[in-house]
Symmetry: C2
Subunit: 292 residues, 2 copies
């Protein structure tokens, strides 16, 4: 339980609503800033304007998943006005307060450092990254379903990279009946691929392994699907690149060759905001309980 | 191989293109009627106008998946003109000719009976129905992904009916990490559900089993999700009804209660026309080979 803990939420999207619900369920005292458009049913939370006063006795400050921009602004889907977080606001936070965000930039980092505040970047935690790989993999599969005229079942798929997303994606595709090949660099990863009953190959051999692919999923944030590799990819193949921008695909060459190649946006918040929100909620609230 | 066999195709959609490709690969002699808009690359097929002459020496007549309408018309996605099949055309077919369609109506049945022609309704074959359950299940899962804010993984799903589609759907959902309950009537089906590691319940208990459902998939072509049952379904639950029209859901009541309930169209030809076409192609060509 979070009885006696006071948490301020400042803006955000559908994922943050899940965190708010979860915190209320755990009996936290919740202050909502930048949620004037949100219809609240039931008790457990109060709305407030941003001010140094309202921040002076909180145990946790929960920012939007994207954090603050370079001018200190927090986006909110539930307010017409943008909320600006200045040094004065950070100065008013008590020393015990933990600041939570998904990702961070220089402005937020600098403010927290200056005021000696603990900053938790949830997306940097291995736990969150692994759990987020579930909606990421489902979102990638959904994109594949929407962009092909074949079933995943019976298809030949290639997964490049075997990190947290690569492993989840390979398992999900295999479970759906796809024949899955996985390209990875580390011998230990190829051993795990083998243990899972899938076919592994050294990533540097990718050009020789794509000739029969119906679907290629790239998770490697480096140029992997180069023009040289794409020249061996069948034209009907669909490429879903889930590596962070700009992806690992030569999209210009893919288009020129007539191959459909899509750079996936950050999928969890889009395809399953509720699940993505619950992941953040559980980790955040556990963190608050444990840091006492 | 189908060397020496002459097959006439009359209209159809993307699925029929797969059948044509497959027949050409097997060395059949192929005549295309109602495909004037189709760009043909490579040899192996000739285009023709519909006439008694062109039909007089064929071994198989392949109609669109939907068959002929009550006036004898065949739809074609690859021709502006509609093609009308009259008694004169059926009279010109040699006695050895087999007529293939997906489904049939009284007109087509009557014509074939009158002329003593073998009529194969591919969708009536158990083999085709089981293979078609794969794109059907994937399409239903895709609809669920597109209409929820949660992942299939970790969700509580309920599958009603354990026929060909019900079994494939239950297996697919479980493989994705959903907790699956299956409602079925027959004791043998519930035994199979148990063997698959899933939770079964007698279909008549459905009202007592839906209170925790995130997703309900109905495959039973009878009123199963009645108002009485829907009153126990959580409002956030999404219902995908894949039973043939009008489905087994009281859609009026679902809407009134604010539950999202969707009647799925015939999914294979929409979500995976290529896979659906290959299913028809393999069965049709095997049939032709075996009947000599």
């Amino acid at each position: 339980m979070l009885t006696g803990k006071r948490i301020a939420f400042v803006g955000g999207d559908a994922r943050i609503l899940e965190v708010i619900r979860y915190a209320i369920d755990l009996d936290a005292s919740v202050v909502l800033i930048g949620f004037d458009r949100l219809a609240m049913d039931g008790a457990g939370a109060e709305k407030a304007e941003l001010s140094p006063d309202v921040l002076s006795d909180i145990d946790a400050l929960v920012l939007p998943v994207a954090g603050l921009d370079e001018d200190g602004y927090a986006d909110s889907n539930y307010s017409a006005a943008r909320i600006r977080f200045t040094d004065e606001h950070f100065a008013s936070l008590p020393g015990r307060c933990t600041v939570f965000t998904g990702i961070s930039g220089p402005y937020l980092e600098q403010m927290c450092r200056r005021r000696g505040l603990a900053l938790v970047k949830l997306f940097d935690l291995d736990e969150v990254a692994i759990l987020n790989s579930i909606p990421t993999a489902e979102g990638a599969v959904q994109m594949a379903m929407e962009n092909t005229e074949i079933t995943i079942h019976g298809s030949q798929s290639v997964v490049l990279g075997f990190g947290r997303c690569g492993m989840t994606l390979a398992r999900t595709l295999a479970a759906l009946g796809s024949r899955v090949k996985v390209g990875a660099r580390k011998a230990a990863d190829l051993a795990r691929v083998y243990e899972m009953g899938l076919t592994g190959f050294p990533l540097e051999e990718v050009a020789a392994r794509v000739a029969d692919a119906d679907l290629i999923f790239n998770t490697v944030p480096a140029p992997v699907l180069t023009a040289e590799v794409l020249a061996r990819v069948p034209r009907e193949c669909v490429i879903i690149d889930i590596a962070s921008k700009p992806g690992g695909t030569d999209f210009r060459y893919a288009q020129r060759r007539g191959i459909r190649a899509l750079l996936a946006p950050s999928l969890p918040g889009i395809v399953a905001p509720k699940t993505a929100g619950r992941i953040l909620a559980r980790t955040l609230c556990r963190h608050l309980r444990e840091t006492g």
